[in-house]
Symmetry: C2
């Protein structure tokens, strides 16, 4: 992509919603633009990042047998009355033609349970797991922190259906592992910990995935040995590490990036969702639900992966792999070399953002590259060519090196495989 043509350029002005690092840097970098409080537009750079996060999640859900479906944003309030959740404060209400009462789904148990009921009848149909990646809606009193707490936000939710609690327990552990694989691929593996939280009415615990972050809004109590934590909300009843009994827990700040629940029979009972067992007996379905917010995680990653100059994207979700900065482009000879390099990289299917602007100083181009935060910067200029090639600098390192144009392909191959 030529930066001169990119929709959504960087800006120095501080956005009006800069109550958080992620809102500030993502807006200034040209990734998102606030529509109204808690509701954002994703510009081309931002949508590329969001899509990469979604695709990592999608791949890991597919690996554990999740089948992707798409549920609507809108449904009848009746389903929410059935589960006695129609009074939820965050529920958006609206009127359809004929004065029907509709809601925008903040979560989809009220849709997926009666839907699954249409297809899962017998023990032969179980277990089954479906997931969705789509926007959800919460009428937050105080939307804040950029992508962290929105009124319209992107969610992946996986829902699983089982013959009994034992099978739910089995699958729950499989999903846990898949979640850790996701955080690893997102570059958050080492700083994301399983956190015990309240299980609600039906289970002892639910589990959150909390990413350690000194600006995080949650307080958790961490067992450093097991890398397991306890959420503040249950620390009074669970004072020691559930794994090793350690009572010397460290108080740390963190941001929740995932939340998994054993719903057990809460929703199947509400909808009378039974199956026929091997012996012809009618039995209640056991359910699990497993949430992950791609947009919230995008915001969290920026909160953690940045410096005073801008964002530092992990390789796996950077909007482009290479930020190619062309300098001295008034010189036709240099310009044609840069253009050739750009084409060569595209031909090798490398994702390149090419700063091809002519009337912009090197300083501005470097500042924009640091703000946007693509992991690898290549600079080609009169000086770099005199020095033998192209200057390569990683966003998260200070040093740069000159590599020859001939060896560039190998170097990039070593980085991206």
């Amino acid at each position: 992509m030529r930066y001169s043509q990119l929709f959504g350029k960087t800006t120095k002005s501080i956005p009006s919603d800069a109550d958080s690092v992620n809102a500030k840097l993502l807006t200034q970098g040209g990734f998102i633009q606030k529509e109204i409080s808690g509701v954002y537009n994703y510009l081309p750079l931002g949508l590329r990042v969001l899509t990469k996060i979604q695709n990592i999640v999608r791949q890991e859900m597919d690996k554990i047998g999740g089948q992707e479906i798409l549920m609507p944003a809108m449904t009848s309030e009746d389903s929410w009355i059935t589960t006695s959740r129609n009074g939820m404060e965050v529920l958006f209400h609206l009127k359809g033609q004929g004065d029907t009462n509709l809601v925008l789904n903040p979560t989809h148990e009220e849709v997926v349970t009666p839907l699954a009921q249409k297809y899962l009848f017998s023990y032969r149909d179980l277990p089954s797991a479906v997931y969705q990646i789509q926007n959800k809606f919460r009428n937050e009193a105080r939307a804040k922190s950029g992508l962290l707490r929105g009124r319209e936000f992107n969610m992946k939710d996986l829902y699983s259906f089982h013959t009994d609690e034992k099978d739910l327990d089995r699958y729950y552990e499989i999903v846990k592992k898949a979640y850790f694989e996701i955080y690893k691929r997102l570059g958050l593996g080492d700083i994301t910990v399983l956190t015990f939280a309240s299980g609600g009415a039906f289970s002892q615990f639910s589990h959150e995935f909390q990413t350690l972050n000194e600006n995080g809004e949650d307080t958790i109590y961490l067992c450093k040995k097991c890398k397991i934590a306890i959420n503040k909300e249950i620390i009074d009843t669970q004072k020691t590490c559930p794994e090793c009994g350690n009572d010397k827990l460290e108080t740390v700040k963190a941001t929740e990036v995932g939340n998994i629940f054993k719903l057990r029979t809460k929703f199947s009972k509400a909808f009378n969702f039974y199956y026929l067992d091997k012996d012809g007996q009618k039995k209640i379905i056991e359910m699990g639900c497993y949430g992950f917010g791609p947009s919230r995680t995008m915001g969290t990653i920026v909160e953690i992966c940045h410096d005073e100059k801008g964002i530092i994207w992990p390789e796996s979700i950077a909007p482009y792999q290479i930020h190619l900065v062309g300098l001295d482009l008034h010189d036709d000879k240099i310009k044609s070399q840069v253009e050739k390099l750009y084409q060569d990289l595209l031909n090798k299917n490398i994702e390149v953002l090419f700063d091809d602007r002519i009337d912009v100083t090197a300083g501005v181009k470097f500042a924009d590259a640091d703000l946007i935060g693509i992991p690898t910067r290549l600079v080609i200029s009169k000086r770099s060519l005199e020095n033998g090639g192209i200057e390569l600098k990683k966003r998260n390192e200070d040093k740069s090196e000159i590599i020859s144009i001939d060896s560039l392909e190998n170097t990039i191959y070593c980085i991206y495989g």
Copy 2:
């Protein structure tokens, strides 16, 4: 995918919303399931088709320089007051916290115009074109015809911004060509015609893409020579073919599958969206908008591509490339041959729906395959093996042929390239 594990099986029962062929066949085939009137769930098979349609559209938009963005479903009613469209009957209204007035966008001019205004300042930034693929909302008085007229539906909208009318005209023709390429790839190329329609307040004409369909809800007047039509709404003012002057037009039924507009300055004026020209003069932006409904098109394709047994998907958007039917699976020897074939096809990255059900008759499996409508059916059974291999039958042909397992790869390669 193993059919035994697929979420969303076929059903013989006639769905309650079977006012149209697409609602009936898509529901019975396990592609969609109605949530409420005009609002559908997409099951795994249905989402695969929808995604393939979206990807074809995405590729063609990218080719003409469209940049993908994602805009929110929800915005402030204020933007709609600015354009005097807040009285639109199909607008869903809702209240945010603090008694703010919000709407669900049925179309996104009210969002994209002020958004583009934040990034396009100078003639240097123009032309520019952005598109979105996402759900939109219309509070239809009478949602009907399955995916054809929904209250929540999937749309691709491309919006373009230009220095002047001439440049808008130039790009408009480019988009027209891209649309024909899309219909060609969707298998609708030969039966989809450019149709002149009302241009509203600012242009003489807009253009629809109408797919000929004897059950279509629109009436158009077709010049068979030019394959150009005139919509009923303007036939009184435009009685002859705009291309050749032919006044012998044929009255035919059709379904609208796309609609492109020169918005000219309608929205840029409402939002005071100007740019600075080369000579430093402030000038108004010219806009175009180009709509295409992936979900509506999915419904239209089923309306056209079916027989009494079920759907007949075009190759490019079929949920899977191959429907592999295993029979006589009680016989371990046959079962292991079928399983091996399934794995071989997966290893070759061929998309296969594998009917691995053991306690289901051949008749039921064939009926399901015909209903689901995957273009190529492979049957492997005791008889087919005795006859020398696998029975291959195209969904749209009556004859079948036996091919040897060894030649299968070549045969599939010839079909799918």
